[in-house]
Each structure stands twice: as structure tokens, then as C-alpha cells.
């Protein structure tokens, strides 16, 4: 009899220890990260995955655990990764995915589960127009219209009135054409030709011929990564001598390496990361960005592309929002996740690697003109346009 009671009490205490242990586990914040570190957009996903170890691991006394999954650039795999993170890992927030189509497909799942999602993707469609689902999404990249405004301002100042457009046949190119045409029309700049291409195309001769036939003063190329080079070199080879504009998609070291002499004089607008040493010390982002670049280089042996910095910024946003949300609930609870979302929306004047965040209920990207610099290629290096 005594023996059995002893056994019960042992079992009971074991259960107690067990639940205590579970409570300890809940005391840490869990963040899921979904990147495309393999597949066609691996060039975006790899620096993002490499940036995860640099994210803050302790916030307000709570440890933060990151669970990283790869979606192989496949939107269907993104959905399963999100579902896994939400139902099995019970994460408090998700950073990712890498691609715009991938992000569009998971918004509803993040919203249904009430998990804030910090998307380091290019397209503004994930946060605009704002609705009940998209209010769970925050975007850690500059909106296209912010970058486009800088380019158009430069065009207007230098007297350019006709522009040819070459963009990729994907959401990135689509959105750029839309945003750019709208803004350019207001400045009386005409888009006289618009041509599209695929990243893997082996020849852009036909598109360039058509652009040259339209005889624009300048050409804007909207393509992500190193695919932004081929249109420009082809146009130069065929004798186009006008001005070249590129988007922030071209802001990576390979652009200079692949383009060589033919990209000299290109104008683009992007975050300050390319021209860190030329930006004044009073820029609020300079220190954050330099520290990030140094830490990334130490860990990976190469400088990060801006895509990685977008993930790092997501970490900074969480670092600011988690202490506020902790007042409303324990990590792992719906109350905490909802408070985290509200706190993210209230982030003001947060200096990060890409610029300064000022989020509002209407603007979940939150960059202003401090999030872009006008940059040109001079003597084979990125140079700040003063």
C-alpha cells in the first residue's frame, strides 16, 4: 500500500517537473525563418540564411530561438514550411520567405494563425493595399515607389524626357513598370518602349534593337540580381550611348564584376550599404550597417548582398517590439503574438541597415528618403552621387 502511494507521488512529482520544464521552454521566444537557399532565387536566399546567426539571441532577458527552413524557391514548399512552423513549432513570428510570389501565397496562413510575418521581399503588394490579412505582414525592404522617385528626380534634373524600360517578366518587372510609368508621367517623362525578358535568356539582342529603334534618352533596367547586367551590356554593344538607370535589384558586387567597363556611369538608387565608407557619419544607419557588414564578412568570408540585410533588419524590428509585447503575454500565447504585431506597428525612428523605420498602421514598410541613396558607378566602384 505504501509502495503504491510512493509510486503515485513519484509519478506526480515527475509530472510536475515535466510541466515546469514546459513552462521554461515557453519562456523563450521562437522565431521561424523561411528562406530560398536553394533553387532559382538562391542568390537572394543564401545571404538571408547566412544572416540568421547574426540575429539577436537575447531580448529583454528572454532567449530567442530561430528555426530556419528552406523552401527551395517553391511557393508550395513555402506554404508547408509556414504551416509546419505555425502548428508544430508554435512560433511567435516568422521572418521570410525570400521570393515575392512565395510571400503572396502565405499571407493568409500567417493572418489566420495570427502570427506576425516579416517579409524581406521586393514587391509592395504584400503590404499594399492594406487589409485585414496584410496587417499581419511587415516588409523590410524599400517600396519600389521610393526608389523610383529618386531615379525620376535625377532624370528630371538632368533633362531626360524619354525612357526605355527593360524588365524581367515576373512580379518584380511588372511592379516596376507600373510604379515607374505612373510617377514618370507626372514629371512629363515618357516611357517610349517597354521590353521584358527572362533571367535565363541567352540573348537580349531583339529587346535591345527594339529599345534602340525607339531612341530614348535613357534606359531603366528593372531586374533582380545579376540578370540586370545582360540588358545593359547588350545595349552598349549595339551602340546605345544614352544614360542607364538601374533599380536596387542591381545593388550587389556581381553587377560590377559582370558588367566591367560597360556599366560605367550607371545611376541607381539603393540603400547605403554599397557606399558605406562614403556616407557621412551623421547618417543614422551607418553604424548599424557597418557592424552588420563586418560581422557577416567575419562569419562568411564575403560581403553580404542587401538581401541578407533585409533579414537582419527584421531581427532589429523584433528586438524593438518584443519587450513591449512581453507586457501583454507570455511567448507562445496568442496574446503575445497579437501584442507583437501591435508593437511592430508602433516602431518609430528605428535605425537599421537599410534606413530608418517609421511604421504606422497604414505603412508596414516604413522607409523614408533616408532609406535610399543615389549611387553611380565610377571607375569600377560604387560612388555616392553628391
Amino acid at each position: 500500500m505504501f509502495g503504491r502511494r510512493f509510486a503515485y507521488s513519484l509519478l506526480f512529482s515527475a509530472l510536475m517537473v515535466g510541466t515546469a520544464h514546459v513552462q521554461v521552454a515557453q519562456a523563450q521566444v521562437k522565431v521561424g525563418v523561411v528562406t530560398s537557399s536553394t533553387g532559382p532565387i538562391a542568390l537572394v536566399g543564401i545571404p538571408q540564411k547566412n544572416s540568421v546567426p547574426l540575429l539577436p539571441t537575447t531580448v529583454a532577458g528572454k532567449s530567442v530561438q530561430y528555426i530556419t527552413l528552406d523552401d527551395a524557391s517553391d511557393p508550395t514548399a513555402t506554404v508547408s514550411a509556414f504551416k509546419k512552423l505555425i502548428t508544430e513549432e508554435k512560433v511567435d513570428a516568422i521572418i521570410g520567405p525570400s521570393g515575392s510570389p512565395n510571400a503572396m501565397g502565405v499571407i493568409q496562413f500567417a493572418a489566420e494563425a495570427g502570427v506576425p510575418m516579416l517579409a524581406p521581399v521586393g514587391t509592395a503588394a504584400v503590404v499594399l493595399p492594406m487589409n485585414d490579412q496584410k496587417k499581419w505582414v511587415f516588409k523590410t525592404t524599400q517600396n519600389d515607389d521610393l526608389i523610383a522617385a529618386a531615379l525620376i528626380e535625377h532624370m528630371a534634373k538632368t533633362g531626360i524626357t524619354s525612357v526605355g524600360f527593360v524588365g524581367t517578366a515576373d512580379p518584380y518587372g511588372d511592379n516596376w513598370l507600373k510604379v515607374f510609368s505612373e510617377q514618370a508621367a507626372k514629371q512629363n517623362i515618357k516611357v517610349v518602349a517597354s521590353e521584358r525578358f527572362q533571367r535565363q535568356d541567352t540573348s537580349l539582342t531583339a529587346q535591345s534593337l527594339k529599345i534602340i529603334a525607339a531612341n530614348p534618352q535613357a534606359v531603366l533596367i528593372a531586374a533582380p540580381g545579376s540578370s540586370s547586367v545582360l540588358p545593359q551590356t547588350t545595349l552598349v554593344d549595339q551602340g546605345f550611348r544614352g544614360k542607364f538607370y538601374q533599380t536596387h535589384g542591381a545593388a550587389l558586387p556581381d553587377f560590377l564584376k559582370l558588367g566591367g567597363r560597360k556599366v560605367e556611369g550607371t545611376i541607381l538608387a539603393a540603400s547605403l550599404m554599397l557606399v558605406l565608407d562614403q556616407v557621412g557619419d551623421n547618417h543614422p544607419s551607418k553604424k548599424v550597417a557597418s557592424d552588420y557588414v563586418a560581422a557577416y564578412e567575419k562569419a562568411n568570408g564575403s560581403k553580404p548582398a542587401t538581401f541578407g540585410a533585409n533579414v537582419f533588419d527584421a531581427g532589429l524590428l523584433l528586438e524593438r517590439a518584443i519587450p513591449v509585447a512581453l507586457k501583454s503575454g507570455e511567448p507562445g500565447s496568442p496574446a503575445f503574438r497579437s501584442a507583437l504585431r501591435d508593437a511592430l506597428e508602433q516602431v518609430k525612428e528605428l535605425p537599421a541597415t537599410q534606413g530608418v523605420y517609421n511604421l504606422t498602421p497604414a505603412d508596414h514598410s516604413g522607409f523614408d528618403e533616408r532609406g535610399r541613396e543615389l549611387i553611380t558607378v565610377s571607375k569600377g566602384t560604387w560612388t555616392l552621387v553628391k
Partner: protein, 345 residues
């Protein structure tokens, strides 16, 4: 649209079409000899281009490691076959020789600074790295299932393609690369300047086609391959080894693919996954040839190159749609004109 634009577009179409024609020929060759649709054909192209680019930029050439890994797998498979009593007990020298070769090439590319070696040496080394990939792929993935239904072979082909694309990402990274042109000068004919790279592509393609013709018409090995293509069982009965035939056709395909990669690398930016779409267009050419006729396949591929070039000019957003829709009337025409003639399977 004036004459100059037509000439430039035509030149562009011929350049791409020549590459597609080479790939169409090698896809056809492998298919007729082994019944395998060589989906990974495009990887030979992209691997060669990226290996060459890696040599020129002085970054480590990791291609050799893939060869070493595959050669190790081949040796292991030989041992496994021998252990199960299927293989002959005499030592299989071929697999070991391949392993030694792979190790030697890997060491060579790892130790010798290649960025100053000159285009010819780089091209030769690239070919030396890519060609063994063909026989090795056949040995490791296809030889154990050589007698399977052609649908199984196709599924394995797709799997090999996916694995190779992943390996390409590991070896070359996600960014695209481009090599330096062989020569800068162009040839002016009237008002049109012929790009020197175009001349290279056309010249090498023609040379390869002539050499292939001579190989199949004049040499014993070539005739043996043709025999295997015409009737596999009959060829086996008269002593032509299907293994050798398979490896030889894969080796030729890798050689053609590798050369195409070296030719196309200075013209365009190649990514680790670019090969597939290039070889797919070669495949369309091969289909136009009914997966049987070499000259028609080559002409079909040239036609695809032209169609691509001109459709890009008129409607760049719909270019791939137009090019791949072209296959429909061809299939329709073939199915109407060849009633029941392709019942071999």
C-alpha cells in the same frame, strides 16, 4: 523593321540556333542508342560555362569533386555487382582508372593557377572536366536499369537533372557568370558587323557536325554505335557491348554539351540552372526531327533559334510561349503522317 534589324536578329538566331542544333544532335544520339531522354544534357552546358568562368575569375574550380564523387560511386557499384556475383571477377580497371583520372584533374585544377593560363588551355581543361561526367552518369544512374521501360529511364533522367542542378548550386553558387570573348574583332559585311563570337559558334558547330558525320560513317566505333541505335538486340548479338555503346554516347553528349557551354559563355550570363531551358529548345528541335532524323533535327533547332529571335522582337513577354507552342503543329503533323510507325516500345 529594316534590313539591318533583320540581319541582326537573324545573326542572333543563327548563333542560338547553332547551339540548339548541337544539343538536339546529342539528345537524339543518346536517345537512339540508349532510349534515354537526356534531360541533364543542359547541365553539361552550364557546368562547362561556369567552370570556364571560375577558371578565369581565379575562384576555386569545384567541378573535379563531382567527378571524384561519381567515380567513387562507380567503383562502389562495380564492387557491389562483383559481390552479388553478377559481374565478372576480374578486376574492373575502367572504374579505377576513371577514379585516378578524376583525382588527377581535380588536383591539377586545384594547384595550378588557371586565371592566366590563356583561353585555349582553360577550354581544354574544361572539356577534360566535363566529358568524363557523361560516362560516369551513365555508369552510376542508368547502367543498372538499362533494360527498364523508357518511362522509368525518363523519370530517372528528371531526377538526375534535379540532383545535378543542386550540385551546380553548391559548386558554382547562385550568381551568374560570363567569360571573356575569344577575340574582340568583328567581321564587317556591308552595313552589318558579324560578331566574332557568332563566327566561332557557327564554325565550331559546323566542324563538330562534320566530325560526327565522319565518326559515324567512317570509324568502327561509330558504326557500332549506329548499329546499337538501329537495333539493340541485333547489335548485342553481333558483339557490340550495350554498356560501351551507352557510355560512348553519353561521353559524346557531354563533349558536345561542354563545347556548347564554352561557346555560349562569352555571349550571355549563365546561371547554375540555365542549362535546362537551353537544352529544352534543343529537345524541341530533336522532336521536330521525329527523334530519329539528324539533319531534320538540326534544321528544326536552327528554326527554333530564328523563331525565338524574331518572336522576342515582336512580343518579348510571350517569347517562350511562342517558341514552345511551335511544337504542337509539328506533333500534330507527325501523328497524322506516321500512323503507327513508332510502335517499337
Amino acid at each position: 523593321m529594316n534590313l539591318q534589324i533583320v540581319m541582326l536578329l537573324g545573326q542572333d538566331g543563327v548563333t542560338n540556333g547553332a547551339i540548339y542544333a548541337l544539343l538536339a544532335l546529342s539528345i537524339l544520339l543518346v536517345f537512339t542508342v540508349t532510349r534515354i531522354l537526356l534531360i541533364p544534357q543542359g547541365e553539361f552546358v552550364s557546368f562547362a560555362a561556369l567552370t570556364m568562368a571560375a577558371m578565369q575569375s581565379g575562384t576555386p574550380v569545384r567541378m573535379g569533386w563531382l567527378l571524384v564523387a561519381l567515380a567513387l560511386a562507380a567503383v562502389a557499384l562495380d564492387l557491389y555487382d562483383a559481390a552479388r556475383g553478377k559481374g565478372r571477377w576480374r578486376p574492373r580497371g575502367a572504374a579505377l582508372a576513371m577514379l585516378a583520372y578524376a583525382a588527377a584533374v581535380t588536383a591539377l585544377t586545384g594547384l595550378v593557377p588557371l586565371d592566366k593560363a590563356g583561353v585555349a588551355v582553360q577550354a581544354l581543361l574544361t572539356v577534360a572536366l566535363v566529358v568524363p561526367l557523361g560516362p560516369l552518369l551513365y555508369r552510376v544512374f542508368y547502367q543498372p536499369i538499362a533494360a527498364a521501360h523508357s518511362l522509368v529511364l525518363l523519370i530517372v533522367s528528371i531526377a538526375v537533372h534535379v540532383v545535378l542542378v543542386g550540385a551546380g548550386l553548391l559548386m558554382f553558387g547562385p550568381e551568374g557568370a560570363r567569360t571573356e570573348p575569344f577575340s574582340e574583332e568583328g567581321l564587317s559585311i556591308g552595313m552589318v558587323t558579324l560578331n566574332s563570337q557568332t563566327l566561332w559558334v557557327v564554325a565550331v558547330s559546323l566542324l563538330l557536325i562534320v566530325l560526327l558525320y565522319a565518326f559515324f560513317e567512317r570509324t568502327l566505333y561509330g558504326k557500332a554505335l549506329r548499329a546499337a541505335a538501329v537495333n539493340r538486340l541485333g547489335a548485342e548479338l553481333v558483339g557490340i557491348s550495350p554498356e560501351i555503346a551507352g557510355k560512348a554516347s553519353f561521353g559524346l553528349a557531354a563533349l558536345i554539351g561542354g563545347l556548347s557551354g564554352i561557346l555560349i559563355a562569352p555571349i550571355t550570363t549563365i546561371y547554375f540552372d540555365s542549362g535546362f531551358i537551353i537544352s529544352l529548345k534543343g529537345f524541341v528541335g530533336a522532336i521536330i526531327g521525329g527523334m530519329a532524323s539528324y539533319p531534320v533535327a538540326a534544321l528544326g533547332a536552327l528554326f527554333i533559334g530564328q523563331a525565338e529571335s524574331f518572336s522576342t522582337f515582336w512580343a518579348s513577354s510571350y517569347k517562350e510561349v511562342i517558341v514552345f507552342t511551335l511544337i504542337l503543329p509539328v506533333l500534330l503533323w507527325r501523328s497524322l503522317s506516321h500512323k503507327g510507325a513508332e510502335d517499337e516500345e
